[in-house]
Point group: C2
């Protein structure tokens, strides 16, 4: 039985879901994988809590409030640095909100964690999108892992399949339906709604954020595709190199025309190159898929990705919950796979 020290940073939607999932899965992970995942600290921008173990947290009365700073253990002055020095290295779980322009606060905190010998699992996209090689180089140098399933398509195992299941193949191209909000809107429009009705409904159901421009304009899809390409293909494509078009204000006439052509309209991320000597390109925009395209039936908030390879043909993965719990499950999966090998 191995004790793994965890430090969680960030307590927003994904952070709360991870925290709940960890409590729920503590016994399962110890019984099934021999891993005691001990949460030692919870860090927010204004301070932190130090915990003796996840067991302490398992006491339901302990976290009666969501607002950490009302807890008696809340220490306003303490930072992640203090905690990294306090405990022997395990895994830092980065659930901070991601600024796509700067990559902060994730970039700084991950750099420090990796440099101090901690593994990192992250749900935030900005740092990896802005610094495609720096973090992985640092991880390699310090012989630790940085895993980003939670940032790429959460519960949809895009990175696992690309890196692990397709090992030894050459990947010829990647396509993905990677954004739940836009896919939900397009699906509902196919079912008869106007753009504004579908967007409104997505907001009411909590699928679309109040400001969903990053989703609608295609940037979320672009970032995910970049992260996947950079890790799976070893490229170092940056966000400003990507041609991005979104679905904003798309009209019902377009959808009706799509239906009459017996095609399906999807917001599609693509990674391809003209030939083996050309550089890889990432593009995001609307695409018309035939009914028998493996991603054509990816509807509603579902996501999907397809890899075209030289020796395995194409392999597609679809599904995986598009919600904070799905992202939390992806973080937990990455933690387990750092320590547990299936032999």
């Amino acid at each position: 039985m191995e004790k793994i020290n965890l430090i969680q940073v960030g307590f927003g939607r994904v952070g709360r879901a991870f925290f709940e999932l960890l409590k729920e899965k503590y016994d399962y992970c110890s019984g099934h994988y021999g891993l005691k995942l001990e949460l030692r600290g919870l860090v927010r921008s204004q301070g932190a809590i130090i915990l003796s173990s996840t067991k302490r947290v398992l006491n339901p009365s302990y976290f009666a409030t969501d607002d950490l700073q009302y807890l008696s253990d809340w220490i306003p002055a303490i930072t992640l640095s203090d905690l990294l020095d306090e405990f022997s290295p395990g895994v830092v779980v980065d659930c901070t909100p991601s600024d796509l322009k700067t990559g902060e606060p994730g970039f700084s905190l991950m750099k420090e964690a990796l440099a101090k010998g901690w593994h990192v699992v992250t749900a935030s996209k900005g740092a990896l999108a802005n610094h495609p090689t720096e973090l992985s180089d640092l991880a390699r140098k310090n012989k630790v892992a940085i895993k980003a399933s939670g940032a790429t398509a959460a519960a949809l195992p895009a990175l696992d399949v690309g890196l692990y299941s397709l090992a030894g193949t050459e990947i010829l191209a990647i396509e993905g339906v990677l954004n739940g909000t836009t896919n939900y809107i397009l699906t509902r429009m196919t079912e008869g709604l106007t753009y504004n009705q579908a967007l409104e409904e997505a907001r009411e159901k909590g699928i679309a954020e109040p400001d969903s421009s990053q989703d609608i304009e295609g940037w979320d899809t672009a970032v995910k595709m970049i992260l996947i390409a950079n890790q799976v293909l070893g490229t170092s494509i940056k966000l400003n190199e990507v041609k991005v078009a979104g679905i904003q204000g798309i009209s019902r006439e377009v959808i009706d025309k799509t239906n009459s052509l017996e095609k399906v309209l999807k917001l599609f991320g693509k990674c391809y190159r003209e030939d083996c000597a050309s550089p890889w390109k990432v593009e995001v925009g609307l695409a018309l898929l035939d009914y028998d395209h493996p991603l054509a039936t990816v509807n509603g908030t579902n996501k999907g990705i397809i890899f075209y390879t030289d020796s395995m043909g194409w392999v597609a993965v679809t599904g995986g919950k598009s919600d904070p719990r799905g992202a939390a499950a992806a973080l937990l999966k990455d933690i387990i796979n750092i320590y547990f090998m299936n032999f």
Copy 2:
């Protein structure tokens, strides 16, 4: 750069494909993963060849004949045992034909290889289906891996996703379209052919074996589902415990009725249990899928599998070449993943 000794056993359709793929991918694996995959021996039932390295084999004139025993290095008296003792342990690549009733010759050769500290990757189903725990226990005891992607659904990464991508989830049920031949026949019948026409066409195209009864009667699907369930869920279900029905002699009327119901007919493997306290069951038979079922668009020789989980929702994988090259690529993938971790 790490040198890995490989010994290949069996030189049938999958064996030849693996041999060709290894030559093709030698430089890629060394450049990309730092693994020099050195084929040291090729064993058949009547003897073996000892090779100095894959480099030797790369000389195209060397293997001008497919029939190994005409080569000057052919040694009739030599066996796998001799080779296992001759080289320092690496990976035994089992491409032997699989007897579903006895599990031989795979069972004996894998036992010996594992006991002598060799990892095993296998494309043969019989041994694992008949001895669900003995081989994995032996591997664990000897701290080596036994990997069976090549036996479960070849290039479709069913085991990877179940074991690796869904780590930390509880799997609630598994469903799969796991046999290319029967799926091809059903797809072509949906397109207007009779059962006999579709079967004949599948034979002409080399999709169906001359004796395809194991496919048609559902046994191939049953074995694959058992292997997946036993590894992913930790069960030890045997073939004689499975309720199996196939597609033999299915009439056009059934297909027409299916179409009129707006459903899709698939030969379906299922693994489920009534509740958490009940034992897992595997069943194989025809199933009517709604058009929006994630496996409904798995057509022709394609395969697909879906896992239902507690924390990631459902995750489906489809595609992956259903031919000897796809199976060979799965063997190669398993070898790489034994040695190469992505950090």
